[in-house]
Every structure is written in structure tokens, then in C-alpha cells.
């Protein structure tokens, strides 16, 4: 792992002057000039991204932050995709069917509220995979545990966001044989 980071530091130094790197697990690190690295906390201040360092200082993070390209494992890869994919970012928000009978509310903190048959249900979600070409997102709903490649509890939804910006739950379509289009509110 350290070797990968060292190589990455070298590559980053040669290719880009930026000192900040976004790892696939969503963590941002600061690559120091002395060859060491440090995890930093990002905050937003006056529309700018600011990195809080352990020594109590802070620094504005450049807009074009370098994104690590090595793949640690499928889960971190999905996490990375979820953090960086525009399609995934589009998912966050409130989606409502034309008749208002079906509502999905994807919140940034991983909470999903579902309104179906006049009832609200609260659960969790996380993005497990994204196919940018097909515009499909595999969303893991209500997972209670994960054992390696096995996801326990809840269900997987395959969501499709079409070019018109409408959301289609392909998993639901397979169940009820109706394609319900949801519009972002």
C-alpha cells in the first residue's frame, strides 16, 4: 500500500502540481513536500473547498483536485464512482411520479425516504455500481450487513436516469410490469 502511495506521489508530483488527492474511499489526503502524507478534513467556506490540517492550519484546495486511479476493491471503487459520478450526484434529491403516488427522496447522508401507497418508509441506500454508458445506477437499499461480496438485507434497485432526466426503477418494472417515470422536483 505504501509503495502504491509513494509511486502515486511521484506520479502526481510529475504530472500535476496539486498537493491534494482524492482517494477512492472518499478520503482526501495532502501530499507533503517531504514525501509524507496526511489525511485532511474538507470543509466548504465561502464557496471554496478548504482542507483542515492536523497542525491546525488550513489551505484552500484547488478546484481541479487529483483523483486517485488505483482500484483498492470493488466496494471502494463503487464508493469512488459514487463520489465522482455526475449521474450519481443527480440521484440526490426528490423524485416524484406524475400522479404523486410514488416518491423517492435520496438524501446526501445515505437516507432514502419512499412514499408508496400513501405511506412513507425510511431506509438507507448506497450506490454499488454505476454504468455511465447505459445511465444505470445499482443502488443497494436497506443493506443490514455485508460479508465480502454478499450483501445481506434489503434489495438492489437498478435505476435508470434517461436523457430527459427522468428516473425509472427497472427493478420495480420487472415486478409490476409498469414503467413509472419519476421527475426530479
Amino acid at each position: 500500500m505504501l509503495k502504491k502511495i509513494a509511486l502515486f506521489v511521484l506520479g502526481s508530483t510529475l504530472l500535476c502540481a496539486s498537493q491534494f488527492v482524492l482517494l477512492e474511499n472518499g478520503q482526501t489526503i495532502w501530499l507533503k513536500d517531504d514525501g509524507t502524507y496526511e489525511k485532511v478534513t474538507l470543509i466548504k467556506r465561502d464557496g471554496q473547498m478548504v482542507a483542515l490540517k492536523k497542525d491546525g492550519t488550513w489551505e484552500v484546495v484547488p478546484e481541479k483536485i487529483v483523483i486517485a486511479e488505483t482500484v483498492v476493491n470493488p466496494k471502494s471503487q463503487a464508493h469512488y464512482k459514487a463520489k465522482t459520478s455526475l449521474l450519481a450526484k443527480t440521484l440526490v434529491g426528490v423524485w416524484k411520479s406524475r400522479d404523486g403516488n410514488l416518491i423517492y427522496e435520496f438524501q446526501e447522508d445515505g437516507t432514502l425516504r419512499i412514499k408508496e401507497k400513501n405511506r412513507w418508509k425510511k431506509t438507507t441506500y448506497q450506490i454499488d455500481d454505476i454504468d455511465e454508458v447505459k445511465r444505470n445506477i445499482v443502488v443497494n437499499i436497506g443493506e443490514s450487513e455485508r460479508l465480502g461480496f454478499l450483501s445481506l438485507g434489503g434489495e438492489h434497485w437498478i435505476l435508470h436516469i434517461d436523457e430527459d432526466g427522468q428516473l425509472h426503477n427497472l427493478t420495480l418494472k420487472l415486478k409490476i410490469f409498469k414503467d413509472i417515470a419519476l421527475m426530479k422536483q
Partner: protein, 399 residues
């Protein structure tokens, strides 16, 4: 030894490689405990003679296989927990013995705008559907093709070969004698799935939202050598006229096969519904009327006409609103109080041309505690001379 190690490594590598094509593996399920007690007839509430109870375990595995094939397999197991020895005298699914069966086992694949789903599966169509009121739903051995080449429209073609509702009794007379309640032979160690009536069924449907603010669906069924049926439904959102108000219209009919049902008439039904939202309370009022005569009910063929998709269907006492010569109405009020509970109030009256009318009032409260869904239901109904009460408790642990 080295060779053995290499072989083992090769096998493992092959295994990993083969498994790499399988993605999004999900293992889930639920454990249910349902209890119902009724003071119908000479029974008292909580007396075993008028009570039923059963436990169920559902276990499902779903995964996306190679080449974009989706798959799911579910097994359901039922057990009385010995409740019949003291607390209850009936079960939700017939048979006291331990029973289990594969309730779902299907593969689905999309080709462009067309999706094919083949295998044992739940169905949700007006005249052939899985009823979810019981502790285990009925499912079907079927093949379904969905096509969306026409914008805002889904075309459906389905073939149903077998099912485990009352249709498993492919002798219609025997099915009729069973009274429309789902039968299940798994308790006797037999295969609960049987031929869908005489020779399966074909269904064709079109669901479109091409008309602004309207969802329209049309279905045609040919239950081989048993009956032909059709179903038209339009649900219109009146948001351009009255915000939050919707209206729905259903028109359905069934024509029995004269060889199988020589004395049965054709039958049709019309239903209308108005629904809206007042101060967070979802309200709806519905009315339906079914032709008079000696006809088959407008209801689910899969369970020999038990539950109906007519807007007026009761919360608990199925087998009434779709019966020939019946005028029914239903009023529903549902309120979801977030972080407290979901409440429901349902009133149904079915006025039969012959026989006793049915009136039912149901009050329900349901709440989720972590992974446990709970529901408490009180039903007061009259389908003969006297009113009777039923109390039901539903506990479902999701895992």
C-alpha cells in the same frame, strides 16, 4: 505436492474468474408471525376455535449474472409453531404440517427495449395476480415479455403455465367448491404448483402514459378452455383542474368457456374512484357495479376469484365486490404520521342481488421498529345476520 498446489490454485482462480461475472449478490428475507382472532358465530375473541396463526420464513437470493441477466430465487417455509394445540384452530395457508416450496426462481434479460422474464414469479395483472394478504403469496410458472419501443408505453405478453392458487385444482368444479381460498398441498408433501386451470393462460396488456396526466391500461386474457377476460382502466390526475385530485374508471368483463361452464353467463363490471389528499389524509371513494346473472366474478382467476382489483375491494372480506349482481362502494382514509405510525380506515359495502350483503369497517395501525414491521388491525364485518369482530396482529422481521 507442487502439482496439487498448482491445481488447487488453478481451480480457485477459475472459481474466482467464474464468480467475477456474478454481481450485486443480495441475500435477504423475512420471518413472519401472523395471528387473527374472530368472534364470528359462537366463538369469542381469543378463543382458539375462532383464531388462526402461523409463522413463515422467506429466504431470497438475487444476483446479476453474466451477460446482464438478472436472477432471483426465493424459498418460503411455513410452520404453525404448535399454536394449534392451544391458541388457534386455523392457519393462513392450509395444512398444519411443516411446508416449504420455491416461491420464486426466475431469470430476466433485456434486449434493447425488450425485457424477457422467465420462471417462477409473482405477477401483478388485473385478472391474474399474486395476492399478498396472506402469510405467503401465490406465484406462477410463467414467461413475460415487456416491450417499450413505443414511447411512454409498455406492452406486455405473458404465458402462465402453472400456479399455486386455487387454480392448481384444474377441475373448475372442485375449485369452485373450495370457495376461492388459496389451497396449498405443500403441507402434505406434494408439489403445490399445478396447471393453470385446463391448459395455462395467455395475457396481453398495454399500459401507457402517452395521454397527458393519464395512465391507461388494457388487458386481454385467454385462460385456456376456461374463460376469456378483458380489463380497461384509466387513472387521470386532475392536477390541471383541481390540484391533488385523481379519478379512475375501470371496465372489465369475463366470458366463461361454455364447455366448462355451460350454465354461466357473460359478466362485466364498471367501477369509478375519486381520490385526493386533504391535510395529509389520503382519501378515496369508489363505486362498482357488476352485471346480474349466473356469472363468474370479476376477480383474480389465480385464486379462483378470491380477491378483486376493482377499486371497491374490501380490506379483508374478499370474494364479494366482484360477484355478479353486486353494487359496492368503498371509502378509504389513510394517514401517515411520520415517526408515529401509519393509520388506515376502510369502509366497504357490497350489496348482493341474492344472498347476504357484506359490510366491513377496518381500522389499522402499522409501524416499523428498526427491522420489524408491525400492524394491528380491527375489523368489524357483517356478511350474514350479525356483525362480528376480528383482531389481527402482523409481525414481520426483515433481514
Amino acid at each position: 505436492m507442487k502439482f496439487a498446489k498448482l491445481s488447487l490454485a488453478a481451480i480457485m482462480a477459475m472459481g474466482v474468474s467464474a464468480f467475477a461475472d456474478v454481481q450485486n449478490i443480495k441475500v435477504s428475507g423475512d420471518a413472519k408471525l401472523f395471528y387473527s382472532t374472530s368472534d364470528k358465530g359462537s366463538n369469542d375473541l381469543f378463543e382458539s376455535a375462532g383464531a388462526m396463526g402461523q409463522a413463515a420464513l422467506d429466504l431470497s437470493v438475487s444476483a446479476d449474472l453474466a451477460e446482464g441477466v438478472a436472477s432471483k430465487m426465493s424459498v418460503v417455509a411455513l410452520n404453525t409453531l404448535g399454536l394449534e394445540n392451544n391458541l388457534v384452530s386455523q392457519v393462513w395457508e392450509s395444512g398444519l404440517g411443516n411446508q416449504w416450496w420455491v416461491s420464486e426462481a426466475w431469470l430476466a434479460k433485456s434486449f434493447g427495449n425488450t425485457t424477457v422474464k422467465v420462471g417462477r414469479q409473482a405477477l401483478d395483472t388485473p385478472f391474474a395476480f399474486s395476492e399478498t394478504w396472506s402469510i405467503a403469496q401465490n406465484t406462477f410458472d410463467a414467461a413475460v415479455v415487456l416491450n417499450q419501443d413505443i414511447q411512454d408505453t409498455t406492452l406486455v405478453a405473458a404465458w402462465v403455465g402453472r400456479g399455486n392458487g386455487t387454480n392448481a385444482l384444474n377441475d373448475a368444479t372442485a375449485a369452485e367448491a373450495a370457495g376461492g381460498i388459496g389451497l396449498n398441498f405443500a403441507a402434505d408433501g406434494k408439489d403445490p404448483f399445478g396447471t393453470y386451470y385446463k391448459g395455462g393462460a395467455y395475457a396481453f396488456g398495454a399500459i401507457t402514459s402517452a395521454i397527458p396526466n393519464t395512465t391507461f391500461q388494457a388487458w386481454y386474457y385467454d385462460v385456456v378452455s376456461t374463460a376469456q377476460a378483458w380489463w380497461l382502466q384509466a387513472d387521470v390526475n386532475l392536477k390541471d383542474i383541481v390540484d391533488g385530485v385523481s379519478v379512475g374508471v375501470q371496465y372489465a368483463g369475463i366470458t366463461p368457456d361454455k364447455n366448462l361452464f355451460p350454465t354461466k353467463d357473460d359478466s362485466s363490471a364498471v367501477a369509478v374512484k375519486v381520490s385526493g389528499n386533504v391535510e395529509g389524509v389520503a382519501l378515496s371513494a369508489a363505486y362498482s357495479t357488476v352485471d346480474s346473472g349466473n356469472a363468474l366474478p370479476i376477480a383474480n382467476t389465480a385464486t379462483h376469484f378470491n380477491q378483486s382489483k376493482l377499486y371497491t375491494e374490501a380490506w379483508w372480506n374478499y370474494g364479494h365486490v366482484g360477484v355478479a349482481g353486486t353494487d359496492s362502494f368503498n371509502i378509504t382514509a389513510e394517514y401517515s404520521m411520520e415517526d408515529v405510525a401509519d393509520f388506515g380506515l376502510y369502509f366497504t359495502n357490497a350489496d348482493h342481488e341474492t344472498g347476504n350483503d357484506m359490510t366491513e369497517v377496518t381500522v389499522s395501525a402499522s409501524k416499523t421498529y428498526g427491522a420489524v414491521d408491525t400492524a394491528l388491525v380491527w375489523i368489524t364485518a357483517k356478511d350474514s345476520a350479525n356483525y362480528h369482530n376480528t383482531l389481527q396482529v402482523y409481525l414481520t422481521y426483515n433481514f
